[in-house]
């Protein structure tokens, strides 16, 4: 489907992107020629071939008509997402609970970004899955830690990965972490007010490839489309060249002449201060389905996050080294799983550097409990021996 879009086989959704939620109106009133109203039983929900042609959100949803005293109303043309939250009668009550409850955390330090999460997927009291994966890699330099409803997170992460890949194919460069966060936030916005529950932290490293030999002393303009979502043209910092690793354009493609750049080698980055506000380097964003989008250096999300914050706030510093950071993240998840009923089982740990992400083996925290118990016993014994002396 992606190839079809790129080769122009179908209308590109980009041409009418993100218009009003009314475009998501129920399939009954849709006029797409693919729908065969007579064969409503199988194709009536119009999700199959036409899912890529949707001008709005990149996945077509079936919106149930608001319940009214007159059943079987055929005039569903004006059904839209907003009617879900503002209708006088509540939407169809679900007879089953959805999965919730977790501890995820991420922080930035001088060696990159650490992301850690537990692996328990709970479903109102029952552990639906003891080995869920809550940290999902999107590409080599971007991870998403997911929290909230399991299905929502999984599907929206897939949609985000697809849109980032489409962007890369269309524009020849990889979308920045800031841009990805904004993309996810805008994709979730039409669902504000519904019970979609996604609270994700995007952890990544914006990679800028600097061709040092070619640009010695030369001022170079920005490559490609030159548009970075996060910074308007007037405010772009002057000291950076921006060429993503996937950029195959020649350096003569000077489409954006609004600002001029000088060379800034990655090796000159000052390691003693946090460069999270610069264009390249480690980035951490928190995106929530209620519209929040925040950039920061430390986030913890989920029912176990207060416990994780307690451990992290005291210890996280920019100057941590890699082992300290990893053991700190592990300790925070361990303490949170100990206190929070909805977190538990194992801990997943990922570390992102300029070279990409690397994953530590999943560790079962059961062993850690045994070790902790032995430590406590040993401490108790030592203290009683000291008292005797």
């Amino acid at each position: 489907m992606a190839l079809q879009d790129v080769s122009g086989f179908q209308d590109t959704p980009m041409s009418h992107m993100w218009n009003s939620p009314a475009s998501l109106s129920g399939p009954m009133g849709d006029t797409t020629p693919l729908l065969d109203m007579a064969d409503e039983r199988i194709l009536g929900w119009g999700r199959f071939k036409s899912s890529e042609r949707d001008g709005g959100v990149p996945l077509r949803f079936f919106i149930p008509p608001p319940q009214s005293s007159v059943p079987f109303r055929c005039d569903n043309r004006h059904t839209s997402l907003s009617s879900l939250s503002t209708s006088s009668s509540p939407p169809t009550r679900r007879p089953f609970p959805l999965s919730h409850g977790t501890t995820t955390l991420a922080f930035v330090f001088q060696g990159g970004v650490i992301a850690a999460a537990d692996t328990r997927a709970s479903c109102s009291g029952l552990v639906a899955c003891p080995s869920a994966q809550k940290i999902l890699p999107i590409h080599s330099h971007l991870l998403v830690t997911t929290s909230g409803s399991g299905a929502d997170c999984m599907l929206w992460e897939r949609i985000l990965a697809r849109e980032i890949r489409l962007y890369q194919l269309r524009h020849g460069r990889r979308l920045s972490i800031t841009g990805s966060a904004k993309l996810l936030s805008h994709m979730l916005h039409p669902f504000k007010g519904t019970d979609v529950c996604v609270a994700a932290t995007l952890c990544g490293w914006d990679v800028e490839e600097v061709r040092v030999e070619e640009f010695k002393g030369k001022r170079v303009d920005r490559m490609g489309s030159g548009r970075d979502d996060s910074i308007s043209p007037a405010k772009r910092p002057v000291e950076e060249t921006v060429m993503s690793t996937s950029d195959a354009c020649s350096q003569d493609d000077l489409t954006d002449s609004a600002c001029e750049r000088t060379r800034h080698a990655v090796t000159d980055v000052d390691l003693t201060r946090s460069p999270v506000r610069d264009r390249c380097g480690p980035k951490l964003f928190y995106v929530c389905s209620d519209g929040t989008r925040l950039q920061g250096e430390l986030f913890s999300v989920g029912s176990g996050s207060p416990y994780a914050y307690g451990v992290l706030d005291g210890e996280v510093r920019w100057s941590l080294n890699e082992e300290e950071a990893i053991s700190l993240a592990r300790e925070a998840v361990y303490r949170a799983t100990h206190r929070d009923a909805y977190s538990g089982n194992c801990v997943d740990l990922f570390h992102i550097t300029a070279q990409g992400y690397c994953r530590r083996d999943r560790e079962d925290l059961r062993e850690e409990y045994h070790r902790e118990r032995e430590r406590v016993l040993k401490r108790g014994k030592e203290e009683s021996e000291e008292d005797k002396k």
Partner: protein
């Protein structure tokens, strides 16, 4: 389902008195019971389900199995609301045919699982009330089990129980197949005969304690030679 309104919070029966007019909203959902189980082995997969179809206090049918054959290497088990199970399997069949005609090959188990996830999520705001478990062989010929929640979240497992008795069966499977919480036990790989026997024992236990499970057990064994079906009687009370 109405039984829950008869007993109050302290466990005693509520006193019956007139509380005023009550509006009973039409619920498009109903719970038809049933349990589904799937186990993946080294070169086989087993999908098993009971065959009882119930609603409230009644039994609609004693011979309504919940395993549906999708391709030569994939079987799906669906339990929950029977109407949604039927429609969902018809939609999956139609999508499989469309895929076969446009791509000239059958969908693999992993692809079916990913497709089912998007089908289910397309109905995020009016979900299919179905608990799905897909069992089959992956591209390398190894057994694969994919378990779903009603809105499309899924993952690959070695074994999974779904449906009304899932909370009873899953811990038993964790212990017997996953060797969880057992100290000093040799982790032997599961053979096909042992797996089939385990499934039968597990369902016999489920029929003892879950009212919605019983009547008969239908087992589908998926190997590279095809799909074999077996029926075993269970308690009918």
């Amino acid at each position: 389902m109405f039984a829950t309104q008869v007993y109050g919070d302290n466990g005693k029966m509520k006193e019956y008195h007139y509380t005023g007019p009550v509006e009973h909203r039409f619920s498009p959902y109903s719970f038809n019971g049933g349990t589904v189980l799937a186990v993946a082995g080294e070169d086989f997969a087993i999908v098993a389900s009971d065959t009882r179809l119930s609603e409230g206090y009644s039994i609609h049918s004693r011979d309504s199995p919940k395993c549906y054959k999708l391709t030569d290497t994939t079987v799906i088990g669906c339990s929950g609301f029977h109407g949604d199970c039927l429609t969902l399997t018809e939609i999956i069949d139609a999508r499989l045919k469309m895929y076969k005609h446009s791509n000239n090959k059958c969908m693999t188990s992993g692809a079916i699982a990913a497709m089912l996830s998007t089908i289910l999520y397309g109905r995020r705001f009016f979900p299919y009330y179905v608990y799905n478990i897909i069992g089959g062989l992956d591209e390398e010929g190894k057994g694969a089990v994919y378990s779903f929640d009603p809105v499309g979240s899924y993952q690959r497992d070695t074994y999974k129980a779904g449906g009304s008795a899932s909370a009873m069966l899953q811990p038993l499977l964790d212990n017997q197949i996953g060797f969880k919480n057992m100290e000093g036990v040799q982790h032997l790989p599961l053979s096909q005969e042992k797996a089939v026997q385990l499934v039968k024992d597990v369902f016999i236990s489920a029929a003892e304690r879950d009212v919605y499970t019983g009547d008969a057990l239908r087992i589908c064994i998926v190997t590279k030679d095809g799909i074999k079906e077996e029926t075993v009687p269970l308690r009918k009370d």
